[in-house]
């Protein structure tokens, strides 16, 4: 029953699941507080053409050009939606939806020219069982950057998310905080791409925080609990995937989605089946 633990591929996958699950779960606290699940979805899809372009230009796929490509595309689409909404009658949500689906379509169309890297399945749903030692180090580095950035700037970030006018009246550089969140979000997405692919990464970056928000009112618990839930969920999912032979990426999102559903139904305070819901 425990044979998977002796398999080096599985060992690496497990470690990757822990790291990526924790990082994304932790960051999902910000996504939930900011109510920006839609733009996370948009950005995760946008990464595909960015990375494809990176491969087309450099002829190879490395973590660095994946990140730069993803960041460039995300900036284009993110800023593009702001420009469109400010200069026309189209609102930002609509602009974002058009831009990211178009970008995603461009990415899918470009896959044909990517040679060895053109496996659509892999991009869409990831494959955590193929992570290399380098990937692990990168996931570790990115996770550390996100955790450090979040912890150092936790107070101003929280204040910015709650009420930006109060934040800036208290001297918080609100714009810089928003850029920081955006950068950390892209970093989190780049790591999750490996594990669950660009379609399912939204689940990893939203579900843990949303689940915790049904269980606690304390922001520290929301963040650290989200991290623990993301990590634990990924490990459980990898084991399930091994035993009942389903792909790992979907398994992770299914497990996290199930955790959310359980919290939604059974949360002591806000659960649907627990009578005392807030009005």
């Amino acid at each position: 029953m425990f044979t998977p633990f002796h398999d080096p591929f599985f060992q690496r996958a497990l470690l990757a699941g822990l790291l990526i699950g924790f990082t994304n779960g932790f960051f999902s606290g910000f996504v939930v507080l900011r109510r920006t699940a839609l733009s996370v979805s948009a950005l995760s899809h946008t990464m595909l053409p960015g990375i494809a372009l990176g491969i087309l230009i450099t002829g190879t796929l490395t973590q660095a050009n994946a990140f730069i490509g993803a960041l460039t595309a995300a900036l284009f689409v993110g800023l593009g939606s702001v420009v469109v909404s400010r200069t026309s009658r189209i609102d930002q949500g609509t602009a974002l939806a058009i831009l990211y689906t178009t970008a995603f379509a461009l990415g899918v169309a470009a896959l044909k020219y990517l040679g060895n890297y053109g496996d659509l399945q892999h991009w869409l749903f990831g494959d955590i069982r193929l992570v290399s030692s380098n990937d692990l180090w990168l996931a570790f580095a990115i996770g550390s950057v996100i955790l450090l950035g979040s912890c150092i700037f936790f107070r101003p970030l929280l204040l910015t998310l709650f009420e930006s006018s109060i934040a800036s009246a208290q001297g918080v550089p609100v714009r810089a905080m928003n850029y920081l969140l955006f950068l950390m979000l892209i970093l989190a997405l780049v790591t999750s791409l490996q594990a669950v692919g660009c379609v399912l990464s939204v689940g990893l970056l939203v579900a843990p925080g949303a689940t915790m928000s049904l269980l606690t009112n304390r922001t520290t618990v929301l963040f650290w609990g989200g991290g623990i839930l993301g990590a634990a969920g990924s490990v459980v999912a990898l084991l399930c995937a091994y035993w009942i032979d389903i792909p790992a990426g979907p398994a992770i999102v299914i497990v996290l989605g199930t955790a959310f559903l359980l919290a939604f139904l059974l949360s002591p305070k806000y659960g649907l089946l627990n009578g005392t819901r807030r009005s």
Binding site: L33, I152, F153, R155, F162, S165, A169, T219
Partner: protein, 258 residues
């Protein structure tokens, strides 16, 4: 979070000197459109100042300019003899209630603790002193027993108190309130009025935009009448005459929304 410095001190009430807020020739514009010009006034701790004018007169803009939320194109703001360049830890700004995201998952005590952030900066530990400031603020506003409630579970008056408690925890001396009475029922309005009187009585300076001309004289002892530019400033009873009000409200501001 770097602070514009004022030395450590207690509430103004314990000081002999009066702390002055001097606003001179302040001008704000959004793009090329002037939103506010030629605002000059001087007031001091212990006063309650109403900003009165029609919609789009620039009441909110002036509060935001003092709080440092919108840049001033011209003019100076001096607080206790020191120029306020952008923002001051001793100012607390409270946005209009409808601008706040009340569904944000935070408890009353969590909100009040946020008032300590300017003192704590990024790294400083939350100490017994901070805890005490939060407890005192909750106590002063009579919301100690609401401390574990989510802010979305509060009534309008309680929400207003929670935000004021945040300002007290910040040890703010100047409270900049954007339409604090809007949307409150009669009881809540009356108790907020008492509270503002208490806060100014212990030496805080309150500046609030206010749209109800009838209640203004009871609530505020000083008044700035404005409509894009300043019409008058002084004791409410002197400034708010029917002819002055008519004059300020008749002149419609060209294409401005506040």
């Amino acid at each position: 979070m770097e602070t514009e410095t004022h030395s450590e001190h207690d509430c103004c009430a314990h000081h002999d000197n009066h702390h002055e807020l001097v606003i001179s020739n302040v001008e704000v514009s959004y793009g090329s459109v002037a939103a506010l010009r030629d605002i000059s006034m001087a007031t001091s701790c212990g006063n309650r100042v109403a900003l009165i004018g029609p919609n789009g007169a620039g009441k909110s803009t002036l509060l935001k300019a003092i709080a440092g939320l919108v840049p001033r194109r011209r003019g100076n703001i001096q607080w206790r003899g020191t120029a306020v360049k952008k923002w001051s830890r001793e100012f607390a700004y409270l946005p209009q209630r409808e601008e706040v995201d009340w569904d944000f998952p935070i408890t009353v005590s969590g909100l009040v603790e946020m008032g300590r952030y300017p003192h704590l900066g990024l790294w400083k530990r939350y100490t017994a002193k901070d805890h005490e400031a939060v407890e005192n603020a909750l106590h002063t506003l009579g919301i100690t027993d609401l401390r574990d409630r989510q802010i979305c579970e509060l009534s309008g008056g309680q929400q207003q108190r929670a935000f004021l408690a945040r300002a007290l925890a910040q040890e703010a001396h100047v409270l900049l309130l954007d339409e604090p009475f809007t949307g409150l029922d009669r009881n809540a309005s009356e108790s907020l009025a008492c509270l503002l009187a208490e806060l100014s009585g212990e030496g805080r300076l309150i500046l609030a935009s206010h749209h109800d001309l009838d209640s203004a004289p009871q609530l505020f002892n000083e008044c700035l009448l404005l409509n894009l530019s300043q019409h008058d400033f002084g004791p409410t009873s002197r400034v708010l005459t029917s002819s002055a009000i008519e004059k300020a409200f008749q002149q419609s501001p060209p294409g401005l929304n506040d």
